[in-house]
């Protein structure tokens, strides 16, 4: 094999062949999550008349939002081969602080939200320091923190147990929609930016004579993605209120731009900055990273800080969706769903492999199972068992693909 084969223009067939050989060698990425999502939607859509309605679609998004945001934070920690079991209750604690500051102390949301995120950073910093500097396994540290934060949340929630929130800005995130016109404008702006950045990437590589992504393939992928999201926007812009004269329900839920923003920032940090590269390096081979001069401890601490900060944002989403904070906010199955979301999306539990978008795809899968089975009238017990099996299957796929890659 020589380098000269690079210079020959690759065809669409080559690209497909490349992709296929990548899958065979164990680099399957998000493929199982995408296929699973399609299958699940098909099954639930055929079994339930409600599942594929616009109303349920919007509902699904707001249901998945908080768990997805926690999963986004967990991706950073999982990339290092660590785990954060406390992320669920961290979101509860930070959400409680947000609600207490607004409801009991009359703070404005734009002051209370940063404070709650800073509290999240402090929680993450403590966990990260214990893991990185003292060398306590993250499983143990975050298990302790899981209990500790649960207690903290109980204390914060106090006697009554539930603190209401009435701040319109916070409530808007999970309950309001962009107007249809703004929804289309938002879709257009995001699409144009996406296309421009893609073209710019291909162009700048071509200019200095590097092998760039095949234009035909990129066009196909882009058209596909924009088409599907366009259909989604169209569906969300249709009236989905039962009583349109009374209240009109149309447009993209406000939480969608929030999650999209986090996705873009997270993807940028992981893919385009030295810090992101170092996270992958530490997760792949910590000793190699150390010898390359990377401050492994700092990277570890930073990942835990990011995870807890995103949990704080998820706490805000919980508060918004439930209109309140209670001692079980972020508890019960939240964390397990979030870990499940990241892993189902394609992030490896062994570290070094995973992307930001995994959290979103996996979060959707988890929400679809939860939502679809609920609509079909299954008991909560069955839902848990099915979600558990799906998580086990994804972790199994991860482990097997890893074995396939290392035996190469």
């Amino acid at each position: 094999m020589s380098t000269d084969t690079l210079e020959a223009g690759p065809s669409l067939k080559d690209a497909m062949g490349d992709y296929w050989s990548r899958i065979k060698s164990g680099d399957i990425g998000s493929l199982p999550a995408v296929l699973g999502l399609i299958v699940l939607c098909g099954v639930f859509g055929s079994m339930s008349s409600v599942f594929l309605t616009n109303n349920n679609f919007a509902n699904l998004i707001t249901q998945a939002a908080a768990v997805t945001v926690i999963a986004m934070g967990l991706v950073f920690v999982l990339l290092l081969g660590e785990i954060d079991l406390s992320a669920g209750y961290a979101s509860g604690v930070c959400g409680a602080i947000l609600v207490i500051l607004i409801t009991k102390h009359g703070w404005a949301w734009f002051l209370a939200l940063p404070v709650s995120i800073i509290v999240g950073c402090i929680l993450g910093f403590s966990i990260g320091t214990l893991v990185a500097r003292l060398g306590i396994p993250s499983f143990v540290v975050t298990l302790a923190a899981f209990l500790g934060f649960q207690g903290l949340l109980l204390l914060l929630a106090g006697e009554g147990g539930t603190i209401q929130i009435t701040d319109p800005a916070i409530l808007a995130v999970e309950n309001n929609n962009l107007s249809p016109a703004i929804s289309w404008a938002f879709y257009l702006v995001v699409s144009i930016l996406y296309v421009l950045s893609g073209l710019n990437r291909i162009n700048s590589r071509r200019k200095i004579g590097l092998k760039a992504e095949l234009l035909k393939l990129w066009v196909l992928k882009t058209v596909g993605l924009l088409g599907i999201t366009g259909i989604a926007v169209f569906a969300l812009n249709r009236e989905r209120s039962n009583n349109p004269q009374l209240v009109s329900l149309r447009g993209i839920p406000v939480v969608v731009p929030v999650i999209l923003g986090l996705l873009v920032i997270g993807t940028f940090v992981l893919g385009r900055t030295a810090f992101g590269r170092h996270i992958y390096a530490v997760g792949g081979n910590a000793e190699a990273a150390r010898r390359a001069g990377i401050n492994v401890k700092q990277v570890r601490i930073a990942a835990f800080v990011i995870c807890s900060a995103l949990s704080a944002i998820a706490g805000m989403l919980f508060a918004s969706r439930q209109n309140s904070i209670s001692p079980t906010t972020g508890g019960s199955s939240t964390l397990l769903y979030a870990v499940g979301a990241a892993v189902i999306g394609g992030t490896s539990l062994f570290g070094g492999k995973g992307k930001m978008r995994d959290a979103i795809l996996g979060g959707l899968v988890v929400a679809v199972i939860d939502n679809g089975m609920g609509l079909l009238g299954y008991a909560a017990g069955i839902k848990y068992i099915v979600t558990g099996v799906v998580l086990l299957v994804s972790a199994g796929v991860d482990a097997i693909s890893r074995r396939g890659a290392s035996s190469n």
Partner: protein, 262 residues
């Protein structure tokens, strides 16, 4: 990429060690070790297990600081405190256990910890062309795409990437710790060619090896350590394999002038 283009056979060594001592507690690992390393030459460092090879190169790489002794780099007396100072001088070490990240691609690995940035953003295309140029400069033709992950590479290709990473940074001295230990015949040949090419490009190379066939194939001179002392440093042409084996196993050999400086 620039190599220091010193002509072969210049009389001042790039690196000279004089009277280096290193003890770990009561164990005297290095005893008055002298070593000369020349640009454009491969210096093989041989010795039995426990002879002090690894300790010696770790002293050069700044991982250990020697108890006493002088380091002369390009004729100047230097102190190497820490790996970063060694790197700043142009000393790079390729470790036996490779130190590559399997989940990253070749370009990422070559620039690991020293990424080229434009503002806060990684300058991927610049790094990729630099990596490509370096590999081409070493006439590496065995790697299909430099965007494939290291996990998909063979042992020889991994070693190639590790070596290419070492020469990417204007390095003057590359230390290779048993680069062919885990390789098959064909891959060993590839890597030895690469080692030779480094020296031919003007770099100084220290090659640590147990395999005397490799040593005699690629080295210009041979330094044999015996129980922490430098038994001899001799030109390859002046010794036979048996004499080197004697130096390694007994510390002396009939017909080898142990006081001689090459």
């Amino acid at each position: 990429m620039k190599f220091s283009m010193k002509e072969q056979g210049v009389s001042t060594p790039l690196l000279s060690l004089r009277g280096v001592n290193k003890s770990f507690g009561p164990v005297h690992v290095l005893k008055n070790v002298d070593l000369d390393v020349y640009s454009g030459q491969v210096t093989a460092l041989v010795g039995d297990n426990g002879a002090g090879k690894s300790t010696l190169i770790k002293c050069v790489a700044g991982i250990y600081s020697p108890d006493s002794g002088d380091f002369l780099f390009e004729g100047n007396n230097v102190d190497i405190n820490g790996p970063r100072e060694a790197t700043a001088l142009g000393i790079e070490v390729v470790y036996q256990d490779l130190a590559l990240c399997d989940n990253l691609d070749i370009v990422h690995n070559m620039f690991l910890g020293r990424e080229v940035k434009k503002g806060y953003v990684l300058n991927e295309s610049h790094m990729e062309s630099l990596a490509r140029k370096t590999l081409d400069g070493l006439s590496v033709r065995t790697v299909k795409s430099i965007r494939q992950t290291v996990s998909s590479l063979s042992g020889g290709q991994r070693q190639t990437v590790a070596i290419a990473r070492a020469v990417l940074w204007n390095s003057k001295l590359v230390i290779l710790d048993e680069p062919t230990a885990a390789l098959g015949v064909a891959q060993t040949e590839q890597v030895l060619h690469l080692v030779r090419r480094l020296a031919d490009n003007g770099l100084a190379v220290i090659l640590i090896s147990h395999n005397l066939v490799d040593v005699f194939e690629v080295a210009d001179n041979i330094a044999a350590l015996y129980l922490g002392t430098m038994a001899a440093q001799v030109n390859k042409s002046e010794v036979s394999t048996n004499q080197v084996i004697e130096l390694i196993t007994t510390g002396k050999s009939a017909g080898v002038d142990q006081g001689a400086k090459i």
